[in-house]
């Protein structure tokens, strides 16, 4: 257990260091462009899993949180000239508030009704942005990037570094939740909500907490987006694709452990980027095929496959075989 913990914290420290060093050693810009997208999806899938995987509330509003984060950053930049870290912090706060607000309105709903309500929330926010001229309305807005800070050559390289930090933060939060009383409470309410409530779990408060944390992380992931693309418009920023992708990544990776969505996001986003370079339409087919394959072959995702493989090769296998042998005898 202690070894696992040490490895985790070593990884958590190493990733931002790599994120800082790698962009300065002269690798091709394209790698950082792609890696940014992959890491962005790691954050989104990890954030989605906090509410969708741990608590069992399937959120289709990922695009709303992501888009709101992006537009909050844009407003902070345009109205106050805020630096990037302030933009991200503002986006996280607004995302958390939206999470609490949406949660208060929708969390008494269950199953498909909750999911539909989250889609409705996304549409409402997108419609608001579509009609807000200050941020460009429906036609969008060109983002003028300030000078690149911290000695990075380009914004793509800087934002790759920023996204490594956000990724580590998201993973630390998800891991803490999973291993703590928060995670146990969320799992309990997912399995049997009224039994959890009668066991002392304040289910509504926990769900609101999960909504707020998940929303904050999703919005934070969207905050660097205007600087990354240097152009922002509502249709693609609030796209339902973000919701579908985050959900798919969590399902393919496995929703029971924090590292499931991480693996799922790396697998799907990398494959998608490779496929997109061959054909812009192909990546959707790839995601669809992966989903079908995993739902049929490995319903517990990569997490389930890894756990199964561990059982097969680990010390437990010998015991199982011995037990089977003694039963037969």
């Amino acid at each position: 257990m202690r070894n696992n913990s040490t490895s985790f914290w070593a990884f958590a420290l190493a990733l931002p260091i790599l994120g800082f060093v790698l962009p300065k050693v002269g690798l091709n810009e394209y790698y950082f462009y792609v890696a940014y997208v992959v890491l962005q999806y790691v954050v989104l899938a990890t954030a989605w899993n906090i509410l969708g995987g741990y608590a069992g509330y399937v959120n289709f509003g990922t695009g709303a949180f992501f888009g709101l984060g992006a537009y909050t950053a844009l407003v902070a930049m345009k109205a106050f000239g805020a630096p990037l870290f302030v933009q991200i912090a503002a986006a996280a706060i607004v995302g958390a508030l939206l999470g609490i607000g949406a949660g208060l309105l929708t969390l008494r709903l269950k199953g498909i009704f909750f999911s539909i309500a989250t889609i409705a929330a996304a549409i409402v926010i997108e419609t608001f942005i579509l009609n807000w001229r200050f941020v460009g309305g429906a036609s969008g807005m060109q983002v003028i990037r300030p000078e690149v800070p911290l000695g990075f050559e380009t914004y793509t390289r800087l934002l790759f570094f920023v996204m490594t930090i956000l990724t580590v933060l998201a993973i630390i939060v998800a891991r803490y939740i999973e291993k703590s009383w928060v995670g146990r409470g969320l799992h309990a309410l997912r399995d049997a909500e009224s039994a959890a409530e009668c066991s002392g779990v304040p289910t509504l408060r926990l769900k609101l907490l999960a909504c707020a944390i998940s929303g904050a992380l999703m919005a934070a992931a969207g905050a660097p987006f205007p600087l990354y693309t240097s152009f922002i418009e509502p249709h693609s920023t609030f796209s339902l694709n973000y919701s579908v992708m985050a959900l798919s990544m969590a399902v393919v990776g496995g929703m029971s452990r924090w590292w499931g969505p991480v693996l799922g996001a790396i697998l799907i986003a990398s494959t998608q980027q490779l496929a997109a370079s061959a054909s812009p339409e192909l990546h959707l087919l790839v995601v669809g095929l992966l989903m079908v394959l995993f739902v049929i072959v490995a319903p517990d995702g990569l997490v389930g496959l890894v756990q199964w493989a561990r059982k097969m090769v680990g010390p437990g296998r010998k015991e199982v075989e011995l037990a089977r042998g003694s039963e037969r005898a």
Partner: protein, 243 residues
Amino acid sequence: MTTLLRVETLTKRFGGFTALSDVNLNVAKGERLGLIGPNGSGKTTLINCISGVVQIDQGAIAFENKDISTLAAYKRAKKGIARTFQIPRPFHSMSVIENLMVPLEYIVHGLVDVSNRNAVHAEASELLHRMRLSDRTNAPAGQLSQVELRKLELARAVAARPRLLVCDEAMAGLATKEVHEILDILMELNASGITIIMVEHILQAVMRFSQRIVCLTAGRIISDGAPADVMANPEVRRAYLGS
């Protein structure tokens, strides 16, 4: 005798259907109360009202002389009211011992005290031993047999250190030997100071267990008294036993 639970003129409606009408019930500290009645008489609704799973429309519920009528279920659990469910509702993604960790963490030991983890674990293990479930400590809750699920429900409820335990058909679907095993556990829990309300259809079990029986029919209490008196009541026989 000290009154632990007092239900006064309780009424609960679901739309146009009145599930409970003007129900009055007192439960004394340390008592073993049997709650009987035909299907649809309002037994589970009464339990849901007491435990806070549903909110009441009229009347009042007091526990240890404090009004709990509007409290959420988790707050009632913290005040000392625990329950089991008619159809077991385990936290199936967790192991047996983890099921017990939930009330132990949320009610008994507090949430963020990491130093207490071993104590929590030890208490959960001790409880599983008392419930004759130690051999299934690390088994996934979703893989338990019916009688093991019933024991797990009881263990999880008792883990909250309740002063009132409400059991909703804790013996449904069990074989005779298993029924007696659960009854023995309930008797032991009562002997340790826990007041118990038992809803049950198995009349031999109710008779063996109860010091007092209350019979509900169509949302109203039609009889309340010593087991032999209630069973001899013609209205009870007509409504419940069909004779």
